[in-house]
């Protein structure tokens, strides 16, 4: 037989993608930067969407994306494949955003010149939001964080509570609060009457 390697055919495209990602993760963990770039290209849109909705700041979100992938590269050797790479990456992104918000650097940015998140949200409060994204950006931090994680990115309340450092009950309460605020701001009350 002249065949030295057998290509395993996956009837399920998702299974094939998962296998390809596993190979890319393994290669990247071995120092293959091109494999890591493939992982980056695959996940950057979703990670940026997550960071943008958590921070409400475009530039901060881009910084967090950069920091997330650099942290992921450094931590690849310790990545446990029992959890999905995407899940692991999302956790790093959430932790990056929260660390930044808790940190002095974020405080100084907020106090510096240029529009701050608080100002963005204040502006959103002054006028009716044009769309759902603006209404989400105008939510209080706690409610927005839970809504983004649970309502948009598929975290369970247990996962969101763990990532945010809050109780599961608080996570559920914040989600309820976020929905109430959004429903009011988007005039969804009219649809229910």
């Amino acid at each position: 037989m002249g065949v030295t390697a057998r290509v395993v055919e996956f009837p399920d495209p998702a299974a094939r993608e998962a296998a390809e990602e596993s190979r890319a993760v393994a290669a990247a963990a071995g120092g293959d930067r091109s494999a890591f770039e493939r992982l980056y290209r695959c996940h950057v849109g979703r990670i940026h969407g997550l960071c943008l909705r958590l921070t409400g700041h475009r530039e901060t979100a881009e910084d967090c994306v950069q920091e997330t992938f650099v942290s992921a590269w450094r931590g690849l050797a310790r990545f446990q494949s029992r959890s999905a790479f995407a899940t692991w990456l999302h956790r790093i992104a959430v932790n990056t955003v929260l660390s930044r918000q808790r940190g002095l650097a974020y405080a100084l940015e907020s106090a510096g010149d240029g529009p701050s998140g608080a100002l963005d949200r204040q502006a959103a409060d002054d006028a009716p939001p044009l769309d759902l994204e603006a209404a989400i950006a105008a939510l209080p931090d706690g409610a927005r964080h839970v809504l983004v994680l649970v309502g948009l990115y598929g975290f369970s309340h247990e996962e969101a509570a763990g990532a945010l450092g809050i109780a599961i009950g608080t996570s559920k309460a914040q989600l309820y609060r976020a929905r109430q605020i959004l429903a009011a701001r988007l005039d969804l009350v009219l649809e229910s009457t």
Partner: protein, 189 residues
Amino acid sequence: MSHDHTTESSSLDTRLAALPREQPPARDPWPQILASISVAATPPVAARRRVPLALAAGIALLVAAGFIGWQMHGFRQAALAPPLAGAGADGRPAAAFAVPVGAGYLATRVALERTYRERLQLLAPATRDRIEQDLATIRAANADIRQALAADPESAVLNRLLESTWQQEFDLYATVVRNTAPAAPRSRT
């Protein structure tokens, strides 16, 4: 839960579900990422650090020891200085670091650091250098813990250590501000 709320939520869920989860950044950060990861001379496997937790804990202990030593041999007028506004009964700042921060917290922290920078100039150079060394150590510990958290985001120990570095930094600012405040006139009652 009322029928109205259920209907609202259903409509809201539909609209939430329609939002695109993927939002590519306006500028591609890959060149910066590549530059950052290329700085490391060795790939992640070889660069693996076995005990970042132990290192972080060691630094935290070192910082704690430094604080104790500094406060024990610190300023004699500390007892005369008025307590910091917003401080607890023991003079420590009342801010709680374990909770997500808000605008009020951030404003307080920025104001405190600004005052700290001003008051630092009032101290003797040797004292000032020592304090700056402590602050650098705290920030180095913070960076180290954050890096360790990237690999183990759910580690409760690491998260607590991370919070402790924020608290230590805040405490350092508050201690300097408190101990360099001009003595308030004592009321005679």
